[in-house]
Amino acid sequence: MRSSQVSQLPNQEQSMQAQRRSLSALWRQSREARAAYLFVLPVFVLFVVFRFGPAIASLVLSFADYEIGGNITFIGLDNYRQLVDDSVFWQSVRVTVVYTAMVMPLTTITALSLALLLTRSLRGVGLFRALFFLPYITSTVMAAIIWLWIYSPTDSGLLNAVVGIADIGPIGWLQDQATVLPALAIMSTWKGFGYSMMIFVAGLLAIPEMYHEAAQIDGATWWQRFTQITLPLLKPIIFFVLVIETIASFQVFDAVYVMTSGGPARGSFTLVYMLYTQGFQYFNFGYASAIGIFLFVAILIIAMIQRRLVGRSES
């Protein structure tokens, strides 16, 4: 198109040259574009097949009944209707929310407090940072195996040996409805706080020293500096950590699978564990997909609420 425009110019000689130049530029550009497409192609195909496809299929499946082999029957909103009437589903929602309500503040407060300590000019700070991060890189299965022993219901477990000193127990930490979620939450906090701590450390180190110095000269106390300088400047980081921690706790599965199988009496029956039983034990793929969609929407809404809350207190 461009070359035909060029050829309409009066001077033949010039136009020929321009044409050649623009053609070669075009050729180079198209060669570059072709290379670019080739470079992106493998990732593009993988995304279409393993991300976009399943994301759409998940939505479609939630309106259907599906059997392995390709038998699909569309049943409209039946899966969702069933979900609303399913007391097991509401139990799993309750368990997930309660668990998240424990893990999220526990992790965030632990991580922020330690990050505050670890950004002071103390000796050996690097060593502590590394140490606190160690649980984060363990596999949940390994952590679960260790904590199963710590929480074991007899005196041969660590926790009961400890409380046994005060003549308490032995308590079935994972066998009791009242203690199973706190027990899981403490394990998750142990495993996860190092990550958020690192994020906070990075955020705190990014706050310019001079703000604190200026406030100190003006006679601000530590608490005033914390609430009026550190917290406001850290707000985006806090938002990020809250969202990340909420999403992670909403998706808890590995620990539940290894440690409690959702028990006792569905006392730790989380949403994703329910999704697993429905999808991969009973092969109710449509129903499991509806749970997945619910999970996605719930996470989205919580992230938006958190954004609103953190954003509002800023003004």
Binding site: A36, Y37, A57, L114, I137, M142, I145, V258, G292, L295
Partner: protein, 292 residues
């Protein structure tokens, strides 16, 4: 007017008092800080110490709650290493992790280079729709993904295990961000010298991205080595089962505590090696990118 002399001395005595008070408070503050840090360190380490102590002591030989064994044995580790299934699972985990790292880095850096340095139709739409997929948790799409792999005959195969994990939006994003910082002149110079597009990628871009490749590689390795849900679904037989899934089946069969702890400790060796050798990259990676 008050004499300048007097007011100055008042200020300076005020200051020495303040600095002395500050010094005392700082000392008290740092002592308290250390106290907290040491206590949290102990709490952090107790599970690890428990695991190690249990794995090297005979049944019932561990004094609780002191965690001091009355005798020592390597029997549990001997049993673990003599367990053929466990060796198989370890091999599978290594295949799963290493293959994924190599392929994911290769594909993500190729795409990241194109997204960062080339103009082509649909580039931005494509890139941002990849990134948007980070918002969708893996569990949401796991049912259709499983069906897809099952229908394609991918259950109990390495490709069924590995292929779906290669669509890694975070990796593509990081590679693009990093490559955008590489100067165009370098690329243009190589092209003027007649280097092919692939050669520019292979000999200019890739060597310059080694720091980010290292960080990303560590995270991808640890993710796969620790991964559980997807391998649980896809790798069902001993032939392809990974170490995490294998350990969980072992745990479910009520093994002796020493034996399963030795298994857990054994599974932690790569994590620990990476942690000690490459700690700097991990810290940098999180601080810079929030990569999880």
């Amino acid at each position: 007017m008050i004499s300048q002399e007097g007011s100055r001395s008042a200020i300076s005595s005020d200051r020495t008092y303040a600095t002395r008070r500050l010094g005392v408070r700082r000392l008290a503050g740092s002592t308290l800080s250390y106290l907290v840090l040491v206590n949290v360190s102990i709490a952090t380490l107790i599970p690890f110490v428990s695991m190690v102590m249990l794995s090297v002591s005979p049944p019932g030989a561990l004094d609780l709650p002191n965690l001091i064994p009355s005798s020592f044995t390597l029997e549990h580790f001997h049993n673990i290493l003599a367990n053929a299934s466990l060796v198989r699972w370890t091999t599978n985990s290594l295949i799963y992790s290493v293959t994924s790292v190599v392929l994911a880095l290769l594909l993500a850096s190729l795409a990241g280079y194109a997204f960062a340095k080339k103009r082509f139709w649909g580039r931005d739409v494509m890139f941002w729709s990849f990134i948007a997929m980070i918002m969708i948790p893996a569990q949401v799409t796991i049912v259709p993904l499983f069906i897809l792999i099952a229908e394609a005959g991918g259950i109990d195969t390495y490709w069924g295990l590995i292929l779906p994990t290669l669509a890694n939006a975070q990796a593509v994003f990081l590679m693009r961000q990093f490559i955008m910082g590489i100067s165009d002149e370098l690329i243009d110079a190589a092209k003027l010298d007649g280097a092919s597009e692939f050669r520019v990628y292979w000999q200019i871009i890739l060597p310059l991205t080694i720091p980010v490749l290292a960080t990303l590689g560590i995270f991808i390795f640890l993710f796969h080595w620790n991964d559980f849900f997807w391998p649980l679904l896809v790798a069902q037989s001993d032939e392809t089962r990974t170490l995490t899934v294998g350990l969980s089946t072992m745990q479910a069969r009520a093994p002796s505590t020493g034996f399963i702890m030795a298994g857990a400790a054994f599974s932690f060796i790569p994590n620990l090696v990476i942690f000690i050798a490459l700690q700097r990259y991990i810290a940098q990676g999180i601080a810079l990118t929030g990569f999880r």
